[in-house]
């Protein structure tokens, strides 16, 4: 049964992808898409439910290993995948209608979309660090094709930068993996098992600390590039702004989480071996730098989707800071922030998608009076940006507050102070742009538009989560988080 759920959670997207590619009729394809994401979401929920009992699961004779952290991310991926798929049905249909793409391309779109989801799920489920690496590399390849989907100059450029930078990064990461293997080289075992997370944890005291340190550095730089930690983030705004909006949502909602997940795994391993001091500080520094770097780009931004992309850079930084600070509150905040950021950011990308599609431009300067032109999206864009900038009573505030209090509790005053400063500055920048876009009078040539019902549903789900999680954490999620904390820091 458990195995079943796990395998379904993993392979349903793959099957959906292939079937979507093979099916010709658009309507049927849409149904398949919806069905597939729903099933995989359900199965991932069941998997998570089994995790709540406390012990980790393994499947496919140890290739897959699912503890609370992976299950948590798995749920997030499935959730975002679900709403993104729902959103893209109407969105891509509309793209066809306004003649940006030809109907034939839809098939490839859904193929890569579901493949993308599949690779991410593989990443978080992988037990073998090598497999983890492969998964992340695979996400790059599949998503690169989605980034370059429109085949315009800008999108090709973005895709090229994306693939080059991430592949280089991933190459470093591979060196990291190799070094890890090398560090474990002294341990007698059949070599396939050697890179397995469980195995490494089991006999951590035999790992060579110095080499592992080196390995972590390469992993950090490598996966960090993928996670968009500054100053390795430069592919991110391009890719996120050029991809179709649902894909952008998935990219910054969960892909970055997956990459960061890789870093975190190694961070945990290293802290098991040589204590968390070294890697925590590195994460903290990278996180703060990312937050700081995001500020000016958010201020002087001209492109709506790039704005959101930079805010993703900031939020990856926030999570990194949370992990780096450690402590109960810090880790709690970080792990909660995975979810919060994913939800809020996907909502934002959906609204941004509708608005850009409706206005026919991504230029902030050309978008005015969205609240009158496109009421639902306009309001949600405003709400979403309030949420993402950490304004109560929305969910992001909770996690950010938790991280800050963690920082103070650790007496990292400078870090916490910078954290607060950056957040406030970014709030100011966001307000500056969003107020101008949402409010005011709409351009005369635009009628008052309406979103299609599926898109509204896709926006509604994250909206509800944003509002609820801001004021109340349901007990089931609370248990989940406490399990995650056990994995992350051993604090109960």
């Amino acid at each position: 049964m458990r195995q079943m759920a796990i395998l379904m959670a993993l392979f349903i997207p793959l099957i959906t992808a292939i079937s979507c590619y093979l099916i010709g009729r658009p309507v049927l394809r849409n149904w398949f898409t919806a069905l597939g994401v729903l099933i995989s979401f359900g199965s991932s929920l069941t998997v998570a439910g089994q995790i709540l009992t406390g012990q980790a699961l393994t499947a496919m004779d140890g290739w897959l290993y699912i503890d609370a952290l992976s299950a948590y991310l798995l749920v997030i991926i499935a959730l975002i995948g679900l709403i993104a798929a729902l959103y893209s049905i109407n969105y891509m249909q509309h793209e066809v209608e306004i003649g940006i793409i030809v109907p034939a391309q839809l098939a490839t779109y859904y193929l890569f979309f579901h493949l993308f989801i599949f690779t991410m799920i593989l990443t978080v489920m992988a037990n073998n660090l090598g497999l983890l690496w492969i998964g992340i590399e695979a996400t790059t390849l599949t998503s690169a094709l989605l980034v370059g989907f429109y085949k315009q100059k800008s999108s090709l450029e973005a895709a090229w930068k994306y693939i080059i930078l991430c592949t280089v990064g991933i190459a470093f990461a591979l060196l990291g993996v190799i070094l890890t293997y090398y560090a474990a080289g002294q341990i007698e075992s059949e070599s396939v098992r050697t890179l397995e997370w469980t195995f490494l944890l089991a006999n951590k005291q035999q790992l060579d600390p110095q080499v592992l340190k080196l390995a972590f550095i390469f992993i950090l730089v490598g996966f960090g590039t993928k996670a968009g930690l500054a100053p390795l983030h430069h592919w991110l705004p391009d890719a996120h702004s050029q991809a179709p909006s649902p894909v952008s949502a998935v990219l910054s909602g969960v892909l970055l989480n997956c990459a960061l997940y890789g870093v975190i795994r190694y961070h945990l391993l290293l802290s098991q071996v040589i204590g968390s001091q070294f890697s925590s500080n590195l994460l903290l520094v990278f996180g703060l730098v990312s937050m700081g770097v995001a500020v000016p780009f958010i201020y002087l931004q001209y492109d709506l989707k790039r704005l959101l992309a930079y805010s993703s850079v900031e939020h990856m930084g926030i999570i990194a800071v949370g992990i780096g600070l450690g402590g109960k509150l810090g880790l709690y905040g970080a792990s909660l922030h995975f979810l919060n950021h994913a939800v809020a950011k996907s909502l934002l990308f959906f609204t941004a998608g509708s608005i850009t599609q409706y206005y026919g431009t991504r230029q902030i300067a050309r978008i005015r009076g969205a609240i009158t032109a496109l009421p639902i999206s306009g309001v949600l864009l405003f709400v979403g940006s309030l949420a993402i900038t950490g304004v109560p009573p929305f969910n992001v505030f909770v996690s950010e507050f938790s991280i800050v209090s963690g920082g103070f509790a650790q007496e990292r005053y400078v870090a916490s102070g910078l954290f607060l400063l950056f957040i406030s500055l970014i709030f100011a920048g966001f307000m500056y742009h969003v107020l101008r876009m949402v409010l005011g009078t709409k351009p005369n040539n635009l009628a008052i538009g309406r979103e299609s019902c599926l898109s509204v549903v896709a926006m509604g789900i994250p909206l509800v989560l944003i509002l609820v999680l801001g004021l109340y954490i349901p007990s089931i999620l609370d248990n989940m988080l406490s399990e995650v904390l056990v994995v992350l820091g051993g604090v109960k």
Partner: protein, 666 residues
Amino acid sequence: MMLMGISFFGIGAVSGLLLGRKSRFNKGLPLIMAGVGSGFFLALALKSLLLGVQVELLLPTGLPFGPFILVIDKLAAFFILLTSLMGLLVSLYSWGYLEGLREKHNLGYVGFLYNLFLLSMFLVITIANGFWFLVVWEVMSVASLLLVLVEHQLKEVRQAGFIYGVMTHFGTAFIIVAFMILFIQAGTFDFSSFRAISQNLDLKVAGMVFLASTIGFSTKAGVIPLHVWLPRAHPAAPSNISALMSGVMVKTAIYGMLRFYFDLLPTGPSWWGISLIFIGIVSALLGVIYTIVQRDIKKLLAYSTVENMGILFTAIGLALFFSAKGLDNWAVFAMVAVFYHALNHAVFKGLLFMGAGSVLHVTHTKDMEKLGGLIHKMPYTSLFMLVGVLAVMALPPLNGFIGEWLLFQALLGLSWNSLGAISYLAGPILITILALTGGLVLASFVRMYGITFLALPRSSEARDAVEVPGTMTSSMGFCAAICILLGIFPVFVVRILSGISLALIGGQKLTSGNLLEQLTMTTGQIYPLVIWASLILFVPVIVIVTRLLGGKTIRRRAETWSCGVSANHSMEYTGTAFAEPLRIIFARVLQPQRQVSTNGSRAPYFSNGLRYREKVVSVVEIYLYRPVMSIFYQTCKYVRWMQTGNLHTYLTYMFITLVLVLLFAR
């Protein structure tokens, strides 16, 4: 009971959202709910003030920062009283006022925000947990921000909203820091735990908390130099909201400060009080100086709010100073002044904003140069406005005077208690500055009232003005009545207030009832009732006397003699002209820049038209905010250059990063 009140607001908010733009009840239902909710809270406040019971409510949440706990102690009760009072009156007022917004705006949405705003203010005052305080605090800010943005089609409104949002957010950041420092010490975010450790808190730490909280709350209170948002945002909002923002919302900042200084923190060193007094006195003076030159009535009122906040800060600082020096009964005295003035300001500033709103409602302009002669068209509004104006001028026998008087007496305490030469001199100096402030308030409000309501109308809108509906006038009437009552019977009020202050300051137990008598017997008395009596009684006496001396009075209406030509509004003294002497006297502060250009004239004295433009600049903005902003902007531009768009550069960054990290690690 509290839950009932909250739920009423909730219903109001939701119903507002559901009814939306179209429904006929989208105005009424939310307002009724808000009114009822405020009523509930009013009852709670009175219950806790008069019967002295402490009300509590606790709601569970899954968050790790402690429960959502509401407590009404004496301090909270006072501010609830103030809020709920204005909540009721403004809800009544809004009934008429919102009609004017019906065709342009979505009243359901406004109603939703209105309920949310009021509720969040009540929660801010009652909440007893740091985290949840911040949550509801920000909800309050956001709700008010959205209300400010209701008329977002106007550019200056959007700008005001932006500045308000940013400023208040930075303020909140500081409040977060304050709570964080306490959290480190206490381990939880509950006020009770803060209270538990407050006495053995290290004074350095306490000082940090003091600084952080002061900066945070000053931003909301809008004292100089953190006031820049206030004169923009308050006028931008619909007038009923301006009344709430200026009358009540700024008071939540005062509440927060009192909560921190006298409840969560130990008795601090004297520099706390001194710094507050300094900020306060500066913003009182500068604030009023800016009121003098405003043409926009609501902007004038907003600046007067800055001034009154300054006075409140001074009083709080005084209380802090006294309690730092161990003079507890004097501290109580100063606290009474704080509470009294807070109450007064809430009432009369609410009244004034409602009046300005009524004028706006019928004439659709806030520019006093386009108004005038309204006293004939809107008798009730102008009567109540007159009361409000006299109250804000702190003239006897209205409530404003009592507060001012208490403050003066308390300030003299600086000299009467031998606290050393500096404070001996400080007392009179502060009193003088306050007196100057008072004089300027007098000038600027004579100008406001005279130009707006008296003489000839200066525009067709003013000429065709009509009286506003009864809901609006009646609520203004209530406010005016409260002003008068607070002016006549201060002793009773002061008893309650000194009770609160005692609960806050504690110290040596003197029975609250005769406290004021104790102090005033020795230091100066006042029986407003008698003054009222003589003021009122003398009028008929004088009438009779004059009648006896001069026989029956004959009055004849005639046109004002204006050198032969028929008098018209272009001959009136304008508001700008009225402010001219003071503008020149305070040129150093206001830095007026004037351009006078005559057109169509050969000789300078025979021009057939004269254009006079004059603008004053805000010194703070030019010398403090502009440079900071520009520096920040430049840095942003510089950093932005990093994203060259060239792949090689990015690879190089990766390269460098890797090398650096390797060096760091090795």
